[in-house]
């Protein structure tokens, strides 16, 4: 209270001053009117005009004055020193009589004249990016430099070498002029090379380097094959012309090219191609081992489809069953020189077929070939397209156990199809061929084009390529010695044998060899060649069968063990 009282004179003084009271310094209330003032003030700028300012430098307003002392209003809001350019600062003033001075402007030039540093440094990382660190290993920071020598700040706090994962290290730098470098990120992959991470890298490589490119190539080949100006269309157009034979040969060659791509994809019928019981794959190409039997093309159904395609306006290939479409049907239609139908006499659809002229029959077959080729192209493209969104879910570390095995399951095509259905089955050396039959010629793949052996070769080469894409290294981490080399040797034996057969007997097809086995003595000779494939034999394809079986025996035992995968179709333990 006392203190407040003592301050009261001060409050009073402030109050009086603020209200304009007190003091005698103010003007009289009614002054004598002076003559009217019509002279405008004149503004004079201080400092330079134009004024040069360094880029990113400091802009200092030099000010201005009037001849009559009025306040000058300065508008320098346009000036932006962080952008090179020319800016205007305006100066205005008016006197008490309302006379407006002529506006003055000053030009402020923001320029990078080289003497100031306006360039951000650039960070360059030392060492690898991404950098791989083994789980629980030591993370060594390889460092980074800038082009102008500034210190690089490194934030590696996120890296945890005790947990598998991908971590970011962030590198930043700023120069003396305050120019900040664009931050650089290094990825540190903490991996457990003994476990899933390596499986993941192998699977990723196989998918990106083999599977997807194979489906791309197949899609492209199939599209070219079925194109409006493609080889099938050209053959259809060339019927009954001088170029018919050439056009047919071209179409057949084109079919072989597509089939070459198909045979490569057969070793990885996984993902989109495997979905819904391999429906897309079967539409592209149908030849299937199932439950110890082999499903092949139905030539009679294809014959009937030819008639339907030419007589029914609403005929659609996509509505027909698998065993009368796909590249298998096209092979029959393009390669089979016998134009008669293959049905028994009681199939009404083809009742009138054999009476048609050759030209008519070729023409009608050509129509269906073209329609099926389009369907093949659509489905091949679909598989490739589906891999796009599917890829990331397939090479997903969270599912690597499952997806890696789907991939290795796919390799068992080599056992079920290449070995059993395509080769040893027809030769009578496999359970797919019933015991009461000497041989099973009906199972031969691509019998009209006689490409069976070539397909086996492509399968084998592709098998080798996939195995060599890191599966070999994975296996050798567990296998004693270098098992993968032994295994590759067995695979190469198969390829070498096929090359030898093809070189020495170019005209000898698997069909010929199967057909040559007609007696129990022949059977015994084939069994012997199969059992001792290293010994020269009159039946080299029986020997080949033995060589292929060596590969699949290792596949079923060593391969599954070293890669820690299961045998497809094998059930869990029964402890029996």
């Amino acid at each position: 209270m006392n203190r407040l009282q003592s301050l009261s004179p001060l409050f009073l003084l402030v109050f009086l001053t603020a209200c304009g009271g007190g003091g005698g310094s103010s003007a009289p209330e009614n002054p004598v009117q002076p003559p009217a003032d019509t002279t405008a003030p004149v503004i004079t700028l201080n400092g330079d005009n134009p004024q040069e300012v360094e880029f990113n430098g400091e802009y200092v307003e030099a000010g201005a004055s009037t001849d009559t002392g009025e306040t000058v209003v300065i508008d320098s809001s346009a000036v932006n020193t962080s952008t090179v350019g020319s800016y205007e600062v305006t100066y205005n003033a008016s006197d008490a009589a309302g006379n407006q001075a002529v506006e003055q402007t000053r030009t402020v030039n923001v320029a990078d004249n080289g003497s100031g540093d306006v360039t951000a440094p650039v960070i360059t990382l030392n060492g690898d990016n991404p950098q791989t660190v083994e789980l629980n290993g030591t993370y060594v920071e390889a460092g980074a430099t800038t082009d102008t020598g500034e210190q690089v700040d490194i934030d590696s706090s996120a890296v945890d070498t005790s947990a598998v994962g991908s971590y970011e290290v962030i590198y930043t730098a700023t120069d003396a002029a305050g120019n900040a470098a664009t931050p650089v990120v290094r990825t540190i992959n903490v991996v457990d090379s003994s476990a899933a991470a390596t499986k993941l890298s192998v699977l990723t490589s196989i998918v990106d380097q083999i599977v997807i490119p194979n489906y791309k190539a197949l899609s492209d080949e199939a599209a070219a094959f079925s194109a409006a100006d493609g080889p099938v269309a050209a053959y259809c157009d060339a019927l009954e012309t001088d170029t018919e034979a050439t056009a047919l040969a071209d179409a057949q060659d084109a079919w072989k090219s597509v089939m070459h791509e198909v045979q490569k994809t057969e070793l990885h019928i996984i993902g989109p191609a495997a979905k819904n019981n391999s429906s897309l794959r079967n539409r592209v190409y149908f030849y299937q081992e199932k439950d110890n039997s082999v499903d092949t093309l139905s030539t009679c159904a294809t014959d009937a489809a030819v008639v339907n395609a030419n007589s029914q306006s609403d005929f659609q290939v996509s509505a027909t069953p698998n065993n009368q479409r796909s590249l298998s049907a096209i092979e029959y239609l393009l390669f089979n020189t016998n134009l008669d139908h293959t049905c028994s006499s009681n199939v009404p659809a083809v009742a009138d077929w054999n009476a048609l002229s050759d030209v008519e029959r070729k023409s009608q077959r050509c129509v269906l070939s073209a329609l099926i080729a389009e369907d093949v192209a659509v489905n091949a493209e679909q598989i490739h397209a589906d891999w796009g969104p599917y890829r990331d879910s397939f090479v997903n570390p969270d599912e690597i156990g499952t997806t890696f095995e789907l991939m290795t399951d796919g390799l068992f095509y080599f056992e079920k199809h290449t070995k059993s259905a395509k080769l040893n089955g027809p030769l009578g050396n496999d359970v797919v061929c019933p015991d009461d039959q000497l041989t099973c010629p009906d199972y031969i793949e691509s019998p009209y084009s006689e490409m069976s052996l070539e397909h086996i070769k492509v399968n084998t080469e592709q098998f080798m390529e996939i195995f060599s894409s890191g599966l070999d290294e994975l296996a050798d981490e567990i296998a004693p010695g270098s098992w993968s080399n032994t295994f590759k040797g067995l695979i190469n034996d198969v390829i070498d044998k096929i090359n030898t057969i093809q070189a020495s007997n170019p005209d000898d097809s698997l069909s010929d060899q199967v057909a040559s086995i007609t007696s129990t003595d022949d059977r015994a000779a084939c069994d012997s060649a199969y059992g001792s494939p290293d010994t020269e034999s009159e039946l080299p394809m029986c020997s080949l069968g033995g060589l292929v079986k060596r590969v699949t025996d290792d596949l079923k035992i060593d391969f599954v063990t070293y890669l820690g995968v299961r045998l497809p179709d094998s059930a869990g333990g029964d402890n029996d």
Partner: protein, 709 residues
């Protein structure tokens, strides 16, 4: 107590003698080989209904727990694999009792432990008298004999997790005929907790009638007819847990196992005739037939998808599959894999029958005392496997059929005919006893695989000798040593696969006195061509496949000691110690498709052979009450071959359990007993097989009342 002379003090004369293999007290004393008897008294102390628990304390015996109740025991002896007890010879009263001991020896049926009256474990040279599996040894389960006088008993037990057992025994004894009727029903709600609820328990019924006729003829003879019926209904599964889930909740069961169910029926008729001829000649004849049918619906993995073992070992790499097993995620059809759950009905019908003769002749010749035994057996058994796969989708934690008809996974018929002959002679002179014996088997079998359309046949002919020696060093102390060749035939249809053979050596000391007895025996089993029996569903164990066997060596020391001390004439104190030390190693590098082996390197230890097992028992008994404490320790076991000290591969945990039993003999007709199994509630991973980590029985309280009238 076992091994000791007083162990069989309650074994009566010819009546039970005919079902005992080791024989009576007198015969046991000079037995030139190690063999163990567990008496009725000892069996009753802890009232185990789990055979694993009973035999696990026998030296040289290895047990792998599976379901916690011992429904399907896994027992191995001296290196013979414990997997489903298939490498040892299992008998009931001297008759082969596994469903098909030659064709499919996995012991899916075994005599209920609650019915046991005594138990014998044969090891060493004595093992050769009981084939076909002699690499490790044999177990003879002795059932209650027809008593001498009328007898009625009811045994009621109730306990934790809804455990209940009702056993009723009634005997009528006439002048020369006796009838024993036994009924047993026991079961539990199960200690495992199924995700989303559901039963995890079991019920077993077992009815047996034994009729014994001793006609008044010049020659002493008895005829015994035994009829048995047993069934089981168990919500049992092969599915275990990941190690992490086990740590969190060991008794959990994933929703994926909710349809799993084991159902079986067993029927048997055994005829036994024992005839005492003149001049120490005895003839025993046994005629038997067993029938067994089981249906086991159980999750077997994912159709065309990952193996359950892999999912549980590495759940992070099989995220969808792992979540679907738990019901946390629905099966998505049309994705990269449908992850459709395979629940296969492993349906099998077995039969086993045969006739066997055992002739014993005691005679003195050339100044030596001879005890010649000749055994002949003709045996047939078969199994019809018809495994029907059914497929289910996980939907909101329930398995829902996907409606797709699936083919049979396995469809085959396998059978074996076997003729076995065994001859042995115990030659005694002064303090020496020498046993020479030989076993020969001619086995022919076939497998008709209806799926592959193949019929595979094979024959085996095996002769294996044995030699045992016993020398009585002092009145109480004897030395014994033995060597024999053991074998285990390969299954039918395994052309090219040889039988498993072993050379087994043992030596040690036996001490027998009134109040103290013990054995200290070293053993070594050298296995040639160790066979891992390929599982039925492995399609690749057929013709000529490279099913490699390997050589292995198992050696160790077995110690058993027991004593008793009478305190103030009022209390009887008993104690018993058993300990087994085992070492094992593979002697070659090979690769096997047997799931427990896989790739084996020379020097690797065999799986499921614990380095140390031991048990320690204390008992105290008066006229009014009794107390028995059993402490058991099993060292962690390697579950895959390996050699490093730890860290690689699967291991089971060390496990120490304490079982306590207290009985009050209220009067001569009523006993009241309280039992606590695993009183400290130890929890350990006892196995990662078949699929994933499995727990032991948690603490279980039982109350038992026995009424005799």
């Amino acid at each position: 107590m076992f091994t000791s002379v007083n162990a069989t003090s309650n074994v009566p004369d010819p009546v039970i003698k005919e079902v005992l293999i080791i024989g009576t007290k007198e015969e046991k004393q000079r037995l030139p080989g190690s063999a163990i008897q567990i008496s009725a008294e000892d069996l009753s102390k802890q009232s185990y209904s789990d055979l694993n628990q009973i035999v696990s304390s026998v030296p040289g015996v290895y047990v792998r727990e599976e379901d916690g109740y011992g429904l399907r025991p896994n027992i191995g002896i001296r290196g013979a694999t414990s997997d489903r007890s298939q490498k040892i010879t299992l008998m009931e009263d001297g008759v082969l009792i596994a469903p098909a001991p030659y064709t499919a020896p996995a012991a899916y049926y075994i005599t209920n432990a609650s019915r046991l009256y005594a138990l014998e474990v044969l090891k060493g040279p004595s093992a050769i008298q009981s084939g076909p599996h002699t690499v490790g040894g044999a177990i003879n389960l002795v059932t209650r004999p027809v008593p001498k006088e009328d007898f009625n008993e009811i045994d009621l037990t109730f306990g934790s997790d809804g455990y209940q057992k009702i056993a009723a025994t009634s005997a009528y004894v006439g002048d020369n005929i006796g009838v024993l009727l036994e009924g047993l029903r026991y079961g539990s709600d199960g200690f495992k907790e199924l995700d989303g609820g559901g039963d995890s328990g079991f019920t077993r019924n077992d009815v047996n009638i034994k009729t014994q006729w001793t006609p008044e003829t010049d020659l002493l003879q008895t005829l015994t007819i035994k009829l048995g019926f047993a069934d089981e209904d168990a919500n049992e599964t092969y599915l275990g847990l990941t190690d992490d889930d086990f740590s969190a909740s060991p008794e959990r069961r994933y929703a994926g196992s909710q349809l799993d169910r084991f159902q079986s029926q067993h029927r048997q008729i055994h005829l036994s005739h024992l005839l005492y001829l003149k001049d120490g000649l005895e003839l025993s004849t046994k005629l038997y037939r067993n029938e067994y049918h089981r249906s086991w619906n159980k999750i077997g993995g994912f159709i065309d998808g990952p193996k359950v073992q892999d999912v549980l070992n590495q759940p992070g790499a099989y995220t969808s599959a792992y979540r679907i097993l738990q019901g946390l995620q629905d099966s998505v059809v049309g994705d990269f894999t449908d992850l459709t759950i395979d629940v296969t009905d492993n349906d099998r019908e077995y039969s086993s029958q045969g006739i066997q003769f055992d002739i014993t002749k005691n005679a003195d010749l050339f100044g030596f005392q001879h005890s010649v035994k000749l055994g002949l057996r003709y045996h047939q058994d078969d199994v019809r496997r018809r495994h029907q796969t059914r497929s289910y989708l996980m939907r909101a934690q329930n398995l829902v059929s996907d409606g797709i008809a699936r083919p049979l996974k396995t469809n085959n018929y396998a059978q074996t005919d076997a003729f076995a002959v065994w001859l042995s002679n115990d030659i005694s002179w002064s303090s020496w006893t020498l046993n020479v014996g030989v076993r020969h088997e001619d086995i022919s079998g076939s497998v008709d695989d209806k799926l592959a359309g193949t019929l595979l046949e094979n024959t085996q002919s095996i002769t294996a000798p044995g030699l045992g020696l016993h020398r009585q060093l002092t009145e109480n102390l004897g030395f014994l040593a033995g060597i024999y060749v053991g074998f285990s035939p390969s299954g039918p249809g395994k052309s090219g696969a040889e039988s498993e053979e072993s050379v087994n050596v043992e030596y040690g000391f036996r001490y027998l006195a009134d109040d103290f007895s013990g054995e200290l025996i070293a053993f070594k089993s050298d296995y040639d061509n160790l066979l891992g029996r390929c599982r039925a569903s492995d399609s690749d164990c057929q013709v000529g496949q490279e099913f490699s066997g390997g050589n292995a060596e198992v050696s160790g020391v077995e110690l058993t000691a027991q004593g008793q001390y009478e305190l103030n004439d009022a209390f009887l104190l008993t104690s018993q110690l058993n300990y087994t030390y085992s070492e094992s190693k593979f002697k070659s590098t090979f690769f096997s498709q047997f799931s427990q082996w896989g790739l084996v390197s020379k020097g690797d230890e065999l799986p499921y052979i614990p380095k140390h097992t031991s048990s320690l028992k204390f008992g105290m008994e008066s006229d009014q009450w009794g107390l028995d404490i059993a402490v058991k320790y099993q060292h962690g076991m390697r579950e895959t071959p390996g050699s490093s000290v730890s860290g690689d591969g699967l291991h089971t945990d060390n496990l120490t359990t304490i079982d306590v039993s207290a009985v009050w003999f209220t009067n001569k007709d009523i006993d009241i007993k309280l039992l606590v199994r695993n009183i400290t509630d130890e929890s350990a991973i006892v196995s990662h097989r078949p699929y994933g980590a499995r727990p032991n029985l948690p603490r279980t309280l039982l109350a038992q009342v026995k009424l005799r009238f």
